[in-house]
């Protein structure tokens, strides 16, 4: 297991380095000169030179990259070019909302998708299977900003049960927090569950076809125990993989969901930064999102190691 952890961490570091190079060079490709854009039309040549030196634009690419990456490792993501706040601080304020939203969305999705997928697989080709498959097909085709709108129209404007926007802290009252969280979490979670339910069903059907399941049944093991001990443990492995794989999409979906429900999270910060071309914030946002996805993937992998002991011993996972 320790060998496996070291291997996974070194892979994560390689990916982070590549992403940082990609992100840094991407921003260098912005047409026009950053210094000119920041100073505007009426600046003198001296001012321009001074700013270029301050920004380090007179140095070669790799020196600028190393300096940027070095600062980043120390937690300094630069300053926003709009309001001059440190980028790290801006994200620290916003991140809790995004994490809450993503977690609630994911929990909701798993709670819906895994049982539904299991039922669909066990009752293959029944009406309930068709219903669950229909949900999956429709759910993956539904953009979450449209689903969000329909939920707002139904539950906020028509039934007046839930607020349509904003977010509160859990410490200010659990029920208020929950009321505000339900619609955003549904918007994010339903689409996610539509993807997971399909994979859960496929994974269970695959395991149900295996010889050892037939053997267990032939031995006279009760149906419940066959499903619980043999099917569930084996089928959960690809399901966990898919959940891990889709987390990037979940965080991406959170960006849009935050815009719909006016949640002051990381997504709305990045989207605003894109409009105002606040480069330090965009760079920081991409790096934090990547770190988040890699971090969660790492945790998923560790869970994987617990569920499937073969991963620990061989250091390699099955492809599912």
């Amino acid at each position: 297991m320790p060998k496996y952890i070291v291997r996974r961490i070194s892979q994560m570091i390689i990916i982070l380095v590549i992403v940082s190079v990609v992100v840094f060079s991407l921003i260098q490709m912005i047409p026009g000169d950053i210094a000119t854009a920041m100073l505007g039309e009426g600046a003198t040549k001296e001012e321009y030179q001074l700013l270029r030196e301050n920004l380090g634009l007179d140095k070669p690419f790799y020196i600028r990259y190393l300096k940027w990456a070095g600062n980043m490792i120390r937690g300094d993501l630069g300053k926003s070019s709009i309001n001059k706040f440190p980028v790290a601080q801006l994200f620290a304020q916003r991140l809790p909302y995004t994490i809450q939203l993503a977690l609630c969305g994911m929990v909701l999705a798993v709670v819906i998708a895994v049982p539904a997928g299991i039922v669909a697989a066990l009752k293959k080709d029944s009406y309930i299977d068709a219903l669950i498959r229909g949900f999956s097909t429709f759910g993956t085709a539904m953009p979450n900003f449209w689903l969000g709108l329909i939920l707002i129209l139904t539950f906020s404007l028509w039934l007046r049960w839930l607020p349509s926007s904003g977010m509160s802290n859990i410490s200010d009252g659990f029920f208020d927090w929950l009321k505000r969280m339900i619609l955003p979490a549904m918007t994010l979670g339903i689409r996610f569950s539509a993807i997971v339910v399909r994979q859960t069903r496929a994974a269970f059907l695959e395991v149900l076809r295996m010889d050892y399941i037939r053997t267990a049944r032939a031995k006279g093991v009760a149906e419940f125990w066959v499903n619980y001990k043999h099917v569930l443990r084996n089928a959960l492995i690809p399901v966990i993989t898919v959940i891990g794989l889709q987390l990037g999409r979940l965080i991406g979906g959170a960006v849009v969901t935050e815009m719909i429900f006016q949640i002051p999270g990381m997504g709305s910060l990045i989207a605003d930064a894109v409009f105002s071309r606040d480069i330090a914030v965009v760079q920081g946002g991409v790096m934090i999102a990547t770190l988040g996805v890699l971090g969660i993937n790492f945790i998923v992998d560790m869970v994987y190691g617990i569920v499937d002991p073969r991963v620990r011993t061989s250091g390699r996972r099955r492809s599912g």
Binding site: R8, Q11, M12, I14, I15, L16, I18, V19, V22, V23, L26, I27, M29, I30, T137, F138, T140, A141, M142, P143, F145, W146, L149, I150, I152, L153, L157, Q199, T241, V242, G244, L245, G248, R249, I251, G252, G253, V255, V256, M259, I260, I270, A271, V274, F275, R277, I279, V282, Q283, G285, V286, A289, T290, V293, L294, N297, D301, R317, S319, G320
Partner: protein, 305 residues
Amino acid sequence: MITIFGLSNKAPAKTVPPDGVKRSNFRKAIKRLLANKYNVIGGLILLFFVILALFPSLIAPYPPNEINLQLSLKPPGGSHLLGTDKLGRDLLSRIIHGSSASLAVGLGAVCFSFFCGTTLGLIAGYAGGRIGDIIMRIMDALWALPAIILALAIATVLGAGIRNIILAVGITFTPAFSRIVYAEVLVVKEQVYVRAARSLGASNFRIIFFEILPNCSASLIVYGSLMAGQAIIAEAGLSFLGIGVIQPQAAWGSMLRAGYAFARVAPWVSIFPGLAIFLLVLAFNYLGDGLRDALDVKLVEKKVG
């Protein structure tokens, strides 16, 4: 050696089947495709939108950008079948004109990522070794990024507009294709018929394009149609966030966003463009599922790392 020669003599007959066999396989696939009602539904919806996108001016009852403030936020019915938006523009006409942007991005982004991803995957899988490792690690890194955030960053650099959105979405989807091709190439290149072709003196070019690529094509077609739907959602998402197609050109995502402000009084302004996105993506999903069954492809999602 003798056994290899023995196999290599038989191989061409295996890899390039007589015309009749090939056609009957193709026919069988088409037959299976048409046997499933969902594929037919998906195909018909797609055809419907393609016709809208090709001849918008002939079909749309009004010009898409004709402003008439007296008709602001008119509910569906009467002379404006789906109602009007804030500026009194006919929603149906704008949705019809918006179909070309969505289809262009959906198909354009998939073509771009298909081409780049397939090329990179082929090179990485076929060359193997260090080159393969470097390419695939870069693909892993891109894959680890949340697609919409990467697309946002790319769009920041490139600016708005259809061409740039195609690029942004295309780049984010490239790793998906490269990983599928890479995985397939690793399997296919060890097959007997590829070894046979090589021992017969076939060039790398010939082996890649005539032996390996055709064997990956089924998965690529299936994945391509599923990704087209996702590309349309991504484009609509970027337009929704305000960095997609430039106004006043009609795009479903930005129309939906514009309607949010009047959701209370005029929900139709947002609902109908969303319905259009949903139907088009559904069509691609149905087709992708149908193709998967017809071509008998098993898509295995592989993990980062």
